[in-house]
């Protein structure tokens, strides 16, 4: 079964410093990978995705993610963190299962990012 892991419950970073939020995945095929952000009392917002192509994917709000097939990782990065980036971040993978090709999206448990002023 396909899965996604976010090994850190919380990441703290000083404003202006680079940030990394980690994600590793397990798939039986080509991965479809996603990052979402959730602000307090809000739904999730789509940040970026990797389907195919360049390993470095650029997304919203200055975020980018690097797909690494050998390490089965898809870490989220930003060169300079802002206090307003403080939120809950979710990595997700699309899981294709069954002969009919039905699929679902599997989310990690989330990483809380705290950017300190």
């Amino acid at each position: 079964a396909q899965s996604v892991a976010q090994p850190e419950d919380q990441v703290n970073v000083a404003e202006g410093n680079p940030l990394t939020v980690k994600c590793t995945y397990s798939v039986s095929g080509n991965p479809y990978l996603f990052w979402y952000v959730q602000y307090p009392n809000r739904g999730l917002q789509f940040l970026l995705k990797y389907i195919t192509g360049d390993n470095l994917v650029k997304g919203s709000y200055g975020f980018e993610a690097e797909f690494n097939k050998s390490q089965t990782s898809f870490h989220l990065k930003k060169p300079s963190a802002l206090v307003s980036d403080s939120a809950l971040y979710f990595c997700a993978v699309r899981d294709i299962s069954g002969a009919s090709g039905t699929y679902k999206y599997i989310f990690g448990t989330g990483t809380r990012l705290k950017v300190l002023a």
């Binding site: 996603f34 739904g43 999730l44 039905t102 989310f107």
Partner: protein
Amino acid sequence: EAGVTQSPTHLIKTRGQQATLRCSPISGHTSVYWYQQALGLGLQFLLWYDEGEERNRGNFPPRFSGRQFPNYSSELNVNALELEDSALYLCASRARAPYNEQFFGPGTRLTVL
């Protein structure tokens, strides 16, 4: 363009009652997904509807059910409510392939007393 909308924002029920949650997808999106976000448990996949049919469901008991209407809106029904059903229920919509990303609504906070 309007985003995904969900109603009600908050819902308070007692054990054994039934709850109905509603979702309107982004215009043109045909797929609707339902997730449960309980405290500390991340997002758990509940149901996927596409073109009016249930395409997949997660590991939830049959008392969690739903449907999708001809206008692609959807409702989630939870029967015989239990205390542990208290959670934020999120709906997401997705356009037809080749688009893969989901767009989420703000959620319905269900509290079971």
